[in-house]
Symmetry: C2
Subunit: 257 residues, 2 copies
């Protein structure tokens, strides 16, 4: 996969810079919160940051597609499509927690090949992709080994994400691990890439939630799939298992099934 041109990497940084410049001054300012049809919250931080990125993409790469959380699809069946989540973890953003993230992914023919997880308040940026080892602020990051699920630190954003049936399956895993930490949205996957967390299990993620995660985690040596062990693509069902160690991942898939 030699298609991650250096200019795409550079442009992804510019997008993250621009989104951060919009979001940073709005953090902890009691911005108004609107409720979307799916009952999730949205603020001007989400909306403005996505608008700025969309305008930049349309200007620089008019033949590329865009799929953003807030404004949806624009020629998303193009060879290259930028998948954007301006504020992943809007509830954390609203609650003043600097653990939300801006997610930017370049998807080539349906496969995420470049990912950025940017935390604009703590000024932490993870980036990774095909032939691009994952880094945090330009320093290489790497998952850690975890030979057994019983030694793992597991993360999930909220116990309310799961359907009743999935929750039972999740709890089978949760009872086997060493520690479970809640909250954190995309920030948990970033910590997994950095070798601080061993596994993340979630459901109901959309392409804008997970496309950026896959390149960062895979290029840090980790694995992220759906609950059946299949790679994450545009058509995945939103059930996600990420792990730093292949053994942890296998044990989780078996326990979930």
């Amino acid at each position: 996969m030699s298609d991650i041109l250096p200019e795409f990497v550079e442009f992804a940084h510019l997008l993250a810079d621009a989104a951060g410049d919009v979001i940073r001054p709005l953090f902890r300012t009691n911005v108004a919160v609107d409720v979307k049809p799916d009952e999730s919250p949205v603020t001007i931080a989400d909306r403005r940051a996505e608008q700025v990125m969309r305008e930049m993409i349309m200007k620089r790469y008019p033949d590329h597609g865009i799929w953003g959380e807030e404004e949806g699809k624009y020629q998303a069946d193009a060879k290259y499509c930028w998948v954007l989540d301006p504020v992943d973890g809007t509830k954390s953003f609203i609650a003043g927690m600097a653990t939300f993230g801006t997610l930017i992914s370049l998807v080539r023919l349906g496969i995420p090949v470049l990912g950025v997880i940017d935390q604009p308040i703590q000024k932490e940026r993870w980036i990774g992709g095909a032939h691009l080892p994952s880094t945090l602020n330009a320093n290489p990051v790497r998952v850690r080994s975890c030979p057994k699920l019983s030694l793992a630190t597991l993360s999930t954003t909220s116990p309310h994400l799961f359907s009743a049936e999935d929750k039972v399956k999740f709890e089978h895993v949760q009872k086997k691990v060493r520690y479970t930490v809640y909250g954190y949205d995309c920030y948990a996957y970033a910590q997994l890439a950095s070798g601080a967390i061993d596994a993340v299990i979630e459901t109901d993620l959309k392409p804008h939630d997970f496309c950026a995660l896959r390149p960062v985690i895979e290029s840090a040596g980790g694995i992220i799939t759906d609950w059946q062990g299949r790679p994450l693509t545009f058509v995945s069902d939103g059930r996600v298992v990420a792990a730093g160690d292949k053994k942890t991942h296998e044990e989780i898939l078996i326990t979930l099934s």
Copy 2:
């Protein structure tokens, strides 16, 4: 309550500085994790930070008491007792999340009169006490109003903290609020004092978990009590309800009962 001498405030800052200097270099270094008799994790960050603070207190105020999470009580029935939690949120610390905190409280005749919530990585320090308006890095903070529980953002660290009976009660509240965010430990109470979160409900907190919270929240205009509405003291049962708005607090107490 004129007993919060400026020198105690200054000394509390010195304690937090010293703890931060110990903790900062150990963050995200894959420190070894020991498991305590109560199955909670502990690292050298917790232990060394508490030791440093204990030595400082014994040297400066030899007649004061100390009650630390890791090393327990030392003449804790003295008129003044320093209550310390070097790393509140050890699981978050281990998982690389800069949302743990160092908690320092000065308790006078059993009542917390000075509190510090310090986040040494993000370099955020909340302090508040009797006749000392709460501040974040020297800037005044204030809770926000929330006239109805249905408009509230609620936080709790983990759904696993609750007993089966308490969990049912918590879920009664949880179903009434606008949003629930998980994780964050003491950091959620700090955000409540800053007006970003409306309520926190937890159980099983020890004096070293909650003594520092009370002065910070009360001096920011908020309220923190046990589940019966009684003030938090050394003999509280560990069930805690904090709210920025008295109306939210009342509605929660009624819903929990």
